[in-house]
């Protein structure tokens, strides 16, 4: 979402007057760079300019239209071919929708991989945030009138009040420029979709579940990365306990082993020590002994939860 906002901001910036000699080309460039997301028009934000129907960008004052005046481009004479309109519509509406859905699905898969239950937990928050966005998009789609679409045909009347002072000269823009821009945006959008699909495929393969330690073996990613997202429930529970203790001001030092860390916690946070000691006792055979973990997983998760509660209490009591 941050990326969307950023791209939108860039696009608006590009529309500002006086961005230099590249000004007229910048919207096209940004739209292509922004994987087609420059087309996103959220309610409440100004409409973006790159469209098959009206690629209107303004020349610098003095460049055309006389001193102090400006020129605004209209679609080329005869309009764009049909494909430009179709791609434009896809980029404007279908792509953001698909991206939002993919992001939500990805978050769900990643959340499941981390061992969080599917319908509760922190990872649900982004999903809840994504839902209003989806609703907004549906609203936008529903509110669109027939007059806006249809790439090849629609050459609308010039806007009644150009935004700058001075005389404005309305001319038909170069046909090729608009087509190339749309094509570039389309290509980069496809590239983005492919990347997202690859990310989803990766999240699906590494989604974890009830399996033991061997499950991550077929994982085609570096071992250090696998370590950061353990597939085993006991290991995840231990990791969550570590994160909770880190939040309570007791982070494990990178060179510290689990037993050494347990001793340090015993001295610094005695209330948590019995829980951590038990969790460590469950964790060690799973982590270093290759032990299957089915019986211990629930106990480990319960211990991690209790450590989390203890740490939250400690954190809330801290000055």
């Amino acid at each position: 979402m941050g990326l969307l906002g950023l791209l939108h901001g860039f696009h608006l910036l590009a529309r500002v007057e006086g961005v230099g000699p590249l000004g007229p080309l910048l919207p096209l460039f940004l739209a292509a760079l922004g994987f087609g997301l420059g087309h996103l028009s959220l309610p409440g934000l100004p409409a973006l300019s790159l469209s098959a129907r009206a690629p209107t960008f303004r020349a610098s004052p003095g460049e055309a239209g006389g001193p102090g005046g400006s020129v605004a481009y209209l679609p080329p004479e005869g309009g764009f071919p049909l494909w430009v309109g179709v791609v434009d519509r896809l980029l404007a509406h279908a792509l953001p929708l698909a991206l939002a859905l993919l992001l939500a699905l990805g978050l769900l898969l990643l959340g499941r991989r981390r061992g969080l239950p599917l319908f509760r937990g922190l990872h649900l928050l982004p999903l809840l945030l994504a839902l209003p966005l989806l609703l907004g998009l549906f609203f936008l789609l529903g509110s669109l009138g027939g007059g806006e679409g249809a790439g090849g045909q629609g050459v609308g009347p010039p806007p009644s009040s150009p935004p700058s002072q001075g005389p404005v000269e309305w001319v038909h823009g170069p046909r090729a420029l608009g087509e190339v821009g749309i094509a570039l945006a389309g290509l980069s959008a496809l590239f983005t979709l492919a990347l997202l699909l690859a990310l989803l495929a990766w999240a699906w393969r590494g989604r974890g579940g009830e399996g033991g330690e061997g499950e991550g073996a077929a994982f085609p990613f570096p071992r250090a990365f696998q370590r950061s997202l353990p597939a085993s429930r006991v290991r995840r529970a231990y990791l969550e306990a570590l994160e909770a203790l880190k939040g309570a001001g007791l982070p494990r030092r990178p060179a510290e082993g689990p037993v050494e860390y347990g001793k340090r916690v015993e001295a610094a946070f005695p209330e948590a020590h019995p829980l951590l000691a038990r969790l460590t006792a469950l964790y060690l055979p799973v982590r270093y002994g290759g032990k299957a973990e089915r019986e211990e997983a629930e106990e480990a998760e319960a211990l991690a939860l209790r450590i989390l509660e203890l740490c939250s209490t400690k954190g809330s009591k801290a000055p």
Binding site: Y238, A241, A255, L284
Partner: protein, 304 residues
């Protein structure tokens, strides 16, 4: 559990830190040998004798001097009643205390080290296997170096670990002063059979692949560290791993923890490091460098 039995038998008799006893037993269990480096009078000989007795193993002792010959260790063929008779040397013991190893000439030292490596001695073309288990405790006095032949790094590399007994705390010393003769009435708590069976078990203790990577990373750190002329050898790393396996077994675990590996690394590496002269002059020590490596290299634990 062997460790508890031995510890309980030696309690109050031998002035020894727990960690030292654990490492000594671990070295014995994986088939390594021990270098005891400490000032005189810290109980090195008593410890070796007591260890042999509680383990139910035969004990031999050699006091190294510059005029000692290899045959004085290994034994000789004597001409008796018309034939050559093999006379065993003191090296044929299950626990062998080699006192002041660095006082012997390199020739005699190497005869001993060959026996340590091969588990046998060869004389007059005949090979004589040493008794099993064969465990050498060699002592060195670090403060008196006149007239000694310091062990080269290649020979120090044969020792699995170097330990220092250190001075006991006052309470333990008081108990020792008031107590009985440490070896009086000391009974075996195990025998050679059990020790050999445990030796076979050591190899089965699981070492997670990431722990091996961790060990390699520690070695890499030391080899690349400025001031280190010679880092840990492959044999050293192999012995660290075996020592860690034995430490885990002594705790009754079937798998190695990062802490086992660290303890083994601390015991097994410093005496094998060779520092540059400038590094020594600047105050760096092998022990300090090992600690530096253990602090710098992340242990394979969940990244929390």
């Amino acid at each position: 559990m062997l460790y508890e039995r031995v510890q309980s038998a030696l309690r109050g008799r031998v002035l020894l830190r727990e960690e030292t006893l654990r490492l000594a037993l671990a070295a014995l269990l994986f088939g390594g040998h021990l270098l005891l480096e400490d000032v005189p009078g810290t109980g090195k000989t008593t410890f070796a004798k007591a260890l042999a007795r509680v383990l139910g193993l035969s004990f031999g002792r050699i006091q190294m001097t510059p005029d000692l010959l290899p045959q004085d260790l290994t034994g000789v063929y004597l001409y008796r009643e018309g034939s050559l008779v093999w006379e065993q040397g003191p090296i044929f013991a299950q626990v062998l205390l080699v006192d002041e190893l660095n006082r012997a000439t390199p020739r005699t030292q190497s005869a001993l080290l060959e026996a340590m490596g091969e588990g046998q001695v060869t004389l007059e073309g005949k090979t004589h296997p040493l008794p099993e288990p064969f465990f050498v405790l060699a002592t060195q006095n670090p403060v008196e170096e006149e007239g000694t032949f310091p062990l080269p790094v290649a020979q120090r590399d044969r020792f699995a670990a170097r330990l220092a007994l250190g001075y006991p705390d006052e309470k333990a010393l008081l108990e020792a002063l008031r107590g009985q003769d440490p070896l009086e009435g000391l009974a075996p708590v195990t025998d050679a059979e059990e020790v050999l069976a445990l030796r076979r078990e050591v190899r089965r203790v699981r070492v997670e692949e990431e722990l091996t990577d961790y060990l390699l990373a520690l070695a890499r750190f030391l080899r690349g560290r400025e001031g280190v002329r010679l880092g840990p050898s492959p044999r050293a790393l192999l012995q660290v791993e075996r020592l860690a396996q034995a430490l885990a077994l002594l705790e009754g675990r079937g798998f190695v923890l990062p802490e086992d590996l660290k303890a083994a690394f601390r015991a097994a590496i410093p005496h094998r490091l060779l520092l540059a002269l400038e590094a020594e002059l600047s105050g760096l020590t092998p022990e300090g460098l090992v600690e530096e490596a253990l602090e710098a290299v992340p242990a394979p634990v969940e990244a929390g």
